[in-house]
């Protein structure tokens, strides 16, 4: 059983240098081993995610390394193996989807099955259209269907070929959550039968939570961390990752003292008199550290709160308020500027206005120490 699963893994060691405009060369240097199921590839733009996918699909040739899908060697710099994309059987759904505009949905889906006899091809196409619930769109052109439908067509077109690996480059951007979850559920149902490795690129936290599986975090061509989303993204070890993972507050601080019995340490935020208590990290007094706090993890009060379990209460005043969709982004000046998210209801209820004095409440464990 174990060996069977192992046989279908996507394993890649890739080194690829690319010229980048006006700067030093971009170096992609990664090593990964991906089991059947969905693996999320997460990182800020420019991290090298698309370059990595292009190398796996064969659209780019690595400078060095080895890529295998199960027993099939797709690329091996040492042995001079470099299969062209048509021979790799790696499905790749681009962010733009790249549906053929002059073909119907059915023709798009059948495109990768040129080598099959007609009856077989018809059956396979019908199964794929059914699996992604697009039978009724069979005769439509891509310009005549909705965004979510296009994404279903792109998935069906890729998977109908029974690929060894599926690469998805932010395929569901621009869809609402419900539509996303429905498509992901159909993708999961398909993969329950076929069990191939799926590498899913996204930088949407929402999508990661919906997918909830193994995450690989990338930054500047390197893998920073790997594991379940909560470990990799909720307690980021590095500032760059924290920023990408949606920690709106990333603050420089100096360690004041360690209270090892309490499991905490006190730090002073840079250029201010603000002192806060954060979880104990590998640091000594006078060390410089960075503290990451999510804007949604900070409470905002208009009177000084008493009798709280939270150890960090900071006085400040509102510098600005900005409505962004269903959240209100408040910038609060406590000597250091904090970004705090509140609901529009809270904004009305507390009668928040610019320059109003407020207090911020932050739980110790909402503060994360990160490295650069």
């Amino acid at each position: 059983m174990d060996s069977e699963v192992k046989a279908a893994n996507l394993a890649a060691r890739i080194r690829k240098e690319r010229p980048s405009a006006g700067g030093p060369h971009f170096l992609l240097d990664v090593s990964l081993d991906i089991s059947p199921g969905i693996t999320i590839l997460f990182g800020p733009s420019g991290a090298g995610k698309s370059t990595l996918l292009d190398c796996i699909a064969g659209l780019l040739s690595p400078d060095a390394g080895r890529i295998t899908a199960g027993d099939h060697v797709l690329f091996d710099a040492g042995r001079g193996v470099n299969l062209p994309p048509p021979q790799r059987r790696i499905a790749y759904v681009f962010q733009s989807l790249a549906l053929f505009p002059h073909m119907t949905v059915e023709q798009n889906v059948a495109y990768g099955l040129a080598n099959l006899q007609k009856p077989q091809r018809v059956t396979r196409v019908r199964e794929a259209l059914e699996a992604f619930r697009i039978e009724n769109l069979r005769r439509r052109k891509p310009a005549e269907i909705s965004g979510g439908e296009k994404q279903r067509v792109a998935l069906a077109r890729s998977l109908v070929t029974l690929p060894r690996v599926l690469l998805l480059d932010e395929p569901l951007t621009g869809l609402d959550v419900e539509l996303k979850s429905a498509i992901i559920a159909d993708l999961r149902a398909w993969n329950a039968q076929h069990a191939i490795p799926i590498l899913y690129v996204t930088h949407s936290r929402e999508e990661i939570d919906a997918l909830g599986e193994h995450v690989i975090a990338m930054h500047q061509g390197h893998i920073l961390g790997e594991g379940i989303p909560r470990e990799v993204l909720d307690a980021p070890k590095r500032g760059v990752l924290a920023q990408a993972a949606g920690f709106e507050n990333l603050l420089d601080a100096t360690v004041l003292d360690l209270r090892e019995t309490d499991g905490v340490m006190r730090v002073r935020l840079a250029d201010s008199a603000c002192e806060i208590e954060v979880p104990l990290g590998h640091a000594a007094p006078a060390d410089r550290v960075r503290v990451a706090i999510r804007a949604g993890d900070i409470l905002l009060a208009t009177e000084r709160p008493n009798a709280l379990s939270a150890r960090n209460v900071l006085a400040g005043k509102i510098a600005s308020l900005e409505r962004r969709g269903t959240i209100v982004v408040a910038r609060v000046d406590c000597g250091v500027e904090f970004v705090v998210h509140v609901t529009p209801g809270a904004e009305r209820g507390l009668q928040l206005t610019t320059n109003k004095p407020v207090w911020l409440v932050v739980k110790t464990h909402s503060c994360h120490i990160v490295a650069d």
């Binding site: 699909a57 659209l59 048509p86 499905a91 681009f94 053929f100 495109y111 040129a114 070929t161």
Partner: protein
């Protein structure tokens, strides 16, 4: 009318040859990352700016009994090239080259590269990608190229005069005959031919512009070229 039929025959031959030669060259121009590509692009565009007499002069010299083309033709077919219909076709092909190649390049370049990548990862080789994706998506450009090379050849004068001369039924095209008739003050005959040419050109161009409008794409023309 003989001259008009000759013009049409010439234009059809030239369009067909330009289609066969222009497609691979245009595809190469659209795809190649080669840095020296601009030189080839310049050569292709030369007939747009050169006076037909200059082009005609060099073609005539090359086709003459001591020119490389003339010698080659003599060796292959046993007769010279200058002042023959074949010579006229050859000269017109060169003269109308940009009118075929540039719309093709423009339409090949406008195809989203991701579609070609998608075709490749779906298992299609470059030939299948060409027939199933590139060709159908370039159809307006291909039709534009064919029609413009036809219309441009119908209307040419200077190059024909230089390399073809004025042999009835062989090299005397409609435009030459019009010139001839005006020279000998036969305005009625000149007018009839001129009107026929005007009508043909307008019909051809309006059908291309109309088609491009229906397909919602901007037409390529030498006046909108970069």
């Amino acid at each position: 009318m003989e001259s008009l039929l000759l013009s049409i025959r010439l234009a059809l031959c030239v369009s067909a040859i330009l289609f066969v030669l222009g497609m691979p060259l245009a595809y190469w121009l659209a795809q190649s990352p080669w840095r020296g590509k601009f030189l080839v692009e310049s050569i292709v565009a030369l007939p747009l700016v050169l006076p037909p007499t200059v082009l005609g002069f060099y073609i005539l010299v090359a086709m003459g009994p001591r020119g490389p083309l003339g010698k080659l033709w003599q060796a292959l077919f046993g007769h010279g090239l200058a002042f023959t219909f074949s010579g006229l076709v050859l000269a017109s092909v060169l003269y109308s080259f940009p009118f075929a190649v540039q719309p093709l390049v423009a339409s090949f370049e406008s195809i989203d590269r991701k579609l070609l990548d998608a075709s490749a990862v779906l298992g299609a080789g470059s030939l299948r990608t060409f027939y199933r994706v590139i060709l159908p998506l370039s159809l307006p450009g291909i039709i534009t190229a064919l029609v413009l090379s036809f219309a441009h050849t119908i209307g040419e004068f200077g190059v024909v005069l230089m390399v073809g001369g004025n042999l009835p039924g062989i090299t005397r095209t409609a435009s030459i005959e019009i010139y001839d008739r005006v020279q000998s003050l036969e305005y009625v005959g000149a007018n009839r031919l001129a009107a026929a040419l005007l009508l043909i050109s307008f019909t051809v161009l309006s059908s291309v512009y109309g088609m491009n409008r229906r397909l919602g794409r901007r037409i390529w023309s030498p006046w909108t070229a970069k």
